[in-house]
């Protein structure tokens, strides 16, 4: 028997193995060398990234695609600060990510040592929890707790800061299985009284709507949501992050609601007599003007995080619990209601205000994404970046399966799409994974093309190139008298040549007639990454649009003829 005492780093990596970690997305540096050294003898596969932000987004995409925690490993100082955007992204969207940061030796803490930063201090607001390890023997307990906290309840990122003397020093503590966190509780089933009261209201409603949020995705509650919706005859709308929990091709599904949601989803929400949010936190891009949001409708709020109740909306009934468990408990208690007239009205809206776009006059993003949807049939994992293309993707990609839609919602992090797709592809090697990104966001993390290339990952990256920061340009056009400021991405490289420089197959779509052929070619390409550059019309706007802070009745269906007032909402 090998009697050698393991180092803190070795013990940590063994703990990760015990947690079932298979991949780590990392970038090394001085303070992290002992950790990278311990990985040499580990079964865990290290994915070397090109920038730490990419590592966290990859871990994030990995987690969103599977529900399993994603792990990133970086060095101290700038390595750690580069993870902050990734942590914010995961924190806002409740994604289980564990970030391990190297730290200078304990003696040098607070003394401005080389590559020292107060990383726990910098990251407090963007983590669910964090640790600065002060004793190597704390490693087994802390690692167990970190994974437990990241993955349970409302998931979120956990950071462990590891001074180099701790990772290099001996760790004699045994592995830990027990969790002892008296201040941490995990809601499960909902309170029976609230569930029964909610069931009565649902049964009595004549114009109900179920709003499916990310909590339903996380709890895998889509099946229960469909059963409940069918029993009630209730239409379903999804938030940006709730897409895919319920098959968007289901006849009761009205698509996404909110600022750029479908007109029929928003009409249904505006005119319903009961709205039940299942794991949604009433984001300001959903509610618009709060005091005019569904004033007359009964509101039921299911959430695993009680802090979400009364934060934006004061619900008539709130149920703390896991979305799937609560829905399953509701199903037997509700009575089928007569909602035929309501469903007919929703269908009328669906037919009257369909999502539409011009197929003539140059290449349109909507057309490209609509055809991608026809090709993938809702079965591919779609990861988006942030901006106009993201909203068009949310409108036109009808996601059929849970965890097949990956997008940065709360944080709206540009640069998220490509690394998130890479993480998702590592997690799901047998699935087709498409990243849909804009030319702006893509350039923020484009270095990760190398990460995809060296692993021959089969991701497909569709770059929607309009040579603009399109969403801001749209706001400037609509609300700021078209005074364009800081949105022209003059100087963009030729993205086909750029991909080729990484040895990556690259295709270009210039005309509507090319769309199907090029997309199919990329979809079938299995030897490595494939970049598709769609050179789309420079100026195009996402509609419908509810200006920030406006009520749902302020929805704009198409380009207005008159100038609009500046939005009153924040963003």
């Amino acid at each position: 028997m090998d009697a050698r005492i393991p180092t803190g780093a070795e013990k940590l990596i063994q703990c990760l193995e015990r947690e079932g970690v298979e991949h780590i997305f990392g970038l090394s540096g001085g303070a992290a060398i002992p950790l990278f050294d311990a990985l040499v003898d580990s079964s865990i596969k290290l994915i070397l990234v090109r920038h730490e932000q990419g590592a966290v987004h990859m871990a994030d995409g990995y987690a969103r695609a599977t529900g399993r925690p994603g792990v990133a490993l970086v060095t101290s100082g700038p390595g750690a600060t580069n993870t902050v955007t990734g942590l914010l992204t995961a924190h806002m969207d409740s994604v289980p990510v564990v970030v391990l940061t190297g730290q200078c030796v304990s003696d040098m803490l607070g003394k401005d040592g080389f590559q020292e930063a107060d990383v726990t201090g910098i990251t407090y607001p963007v983590v669910k929890h964090s640790y600065l390890v002060r004793d190597a023997n704390g490693i087994p307990r802390i690692t167990r707790e970190a994974f437990h906290i990241a993955t349970t309840g409302r998931p979120g990122p956990v950071l462990i800061d590891l001074p180099k003397d701790i990772t290099q020093g001996p760790c004699t503590a045994p592995f830990v299985d027990e969790i002892n966190l008296p201040g941490y509780t995990i809601p499960g089933r909902g309170e029976p009284e609230s569930i029964s009261a909610a069931a009565d209201l649902l049964s009595a409603a004549r114009r109900p709507v179920l709003c499916i949020g990310h909590g339903t995705v996380i709890a895998d509650g889509g099946k229960a949501a469909v059963t409940l919706a069918e029993k009630l005859g209730a239409p379903v709308v999804a938030t940006l992050l709730g897409k895919g929990a319920v098959d968007e091709n289901h006849p009761l599904h009205l698509g996404m609601l909110g600022m750029h949601g479908t007109a029929y989803a928003n009409r249904a929400v505006a005119e319903c007599d009961l709205l039940m949010a299942v794991g949604s936190r009433w984001d300001d891009r959903i509610t618009g003007k709060l005091d005019e949001f569904c004033c007359d409708a009964v509101k039921i709020h299911i959430d695993i995080d009680p802090a979400e109740f009364n934060k934006m909306i004061r619900p008539d009934i709130s149920i703390v619990g896991d979305a799937r468990l609560v829905l399953e408990d509701l199903i037997p208690l509700v009575e089928p209601a007569d909602t035929d007239a309501w469903l007919r009205r929703c269908e009328t809206w669906r037919n009257k205000y369909p999502l539409k776009y011009a197929r003539q006059g140059g290449l349109r993003t909507q057309h490209v994404i609509d055809r991608l949807n026809a090709l993938t049939q809702g079965q591919a994992v779609i990861a988006t970046d942030v901006g106009q293309h993201q909203m068009w993707a949310a409108q036109f990609c009808k996601v059929s399966a849970n965890r097949h839609w990956i997008s940065s919602g709360g944080a709206g992090t540009m640069g998220f799409g490509l690394p998130a797709a890479i993480g998702a592809q590592f997690a799901c090697p047998n699935k087709k994974v498409w990243a849909i990104v804009g030319d702006g966001g893509f350039q923020m993390t484009q270095a990760e093309l190398a990460t995809a290339a060296i692993h021959d990952l089969r991701i497909k990256c569709l770059i929607i190139n309009n040579n603009y920061l399109g969403m801001v340009r749209q706001w400037q056009e609509l609300f700021f008298e078209n005074r364009l400021s800081g949105v022209d991405l003059e100087g963009n490289p030729d993205f086909v040549k750029l991909a080729q420089a990484y040895g990556i197959k690259a295709l270009r779509i210039r005309r509507p007639a090319d769309i199907d052929r090029i997309l199919a070619q990329a979809h079938e390409y299995d030897d490595g990454p494939c970049v598709v550059v769609a050179e789309v019309a420079k100026e195009d706007n996402v509609f419908p649009m509810i200006p920030a802070g406006a009520p749902m009745t302020g929805m704009i269906i198409e380009k207005p003829k008159h100038r609009l007032d500046k939005p009153t909402g924040s963003t």
Binding site: T120, G121, Y124, P125, K128, H129, S130, L132, R134, I149, L181, P182, G183, Y184, D305, P306, A307, F309, N310, K311
Partner: protein, 178 residues
């Protein structure tokens, strides 16, 4: 503003209607104070006083926080506090039946002819002279925060050289948990 509604230096600055006292029972983990403070600062809440001390259970501490701000945000903040992993519980005791107290040390720079009035005030508030010097006296007083405010207001006609207030501590009456 009338003289009566003027706020004397050293007394609580905010409208007492918006003052809240929150008791937070926490695990003694590094960073817990920062995490708690950030729940307040992020929402623009002002912490008026903060007392942290060991609790009856080893490994756990008690924080008593007096703060002011928009009441509608308070419920949200209590929930955010309770959500912190190291927070065992957070309770708003604002309207509760709880025993509250505070201690203050007040250093007055004074001539001999001012002393008798100072000592009268001290006696009225049950304050004790803990340091008696040629040019100064130090008073120690404890009691409710309102009592502190009243006494400090009265003393403000003299030269208050230094003032240290402990901040409010409180305990729920009866068997109810704080």
């Amino acid at each position: 503003m009338s003289a009566a509604s003027m706020i004397a230096p050293g007394t609580r600055s905010s409208d007492s209607k918006n003052m809240h006292t929150i008791s937070v029972f926490v695990a003694d983990e590094p960073g817990v104070l920062v995490r708690v403070a950030m729940v307040f600062s992020r929402r623009g809440y002002n912490i008026e006083s903060l007392v942290v001390s060991p609790s009856a259970r080893s490994g756990f501490s008690r924080m008593t926080i007096t703060c002011s701000g928009d009441t509608s945000i308070l419920e949200q903040m209590i929930k955010q506090l309770a959500k912190l992993v190291d927070v065992i519980r957070a309770v708003d005791h604002t309207d509760d039946n709880a025993y509250e107290t505070e201690i203050a040390l007040i250093k007055l720079q004074c001539d001999t002819d001012e002393r008798s009035e100072i000592l009268q005030i001290a006696e009225h508030f049950n304050a004790k002279v803990v340091d008696y010097g040629i040019e100064s006296v130090v008073l120690r007083v404890y009691g409710s925060s309102e009592k502190m405010d009243a006494m400090i207001s009265l003393l403000s006609i003299f030269k208050v050289a230094e003032l240290v207030r402990s901040g409010k501590i409180l305990m729920a009456r009866g068997i109810k948990s704080t």
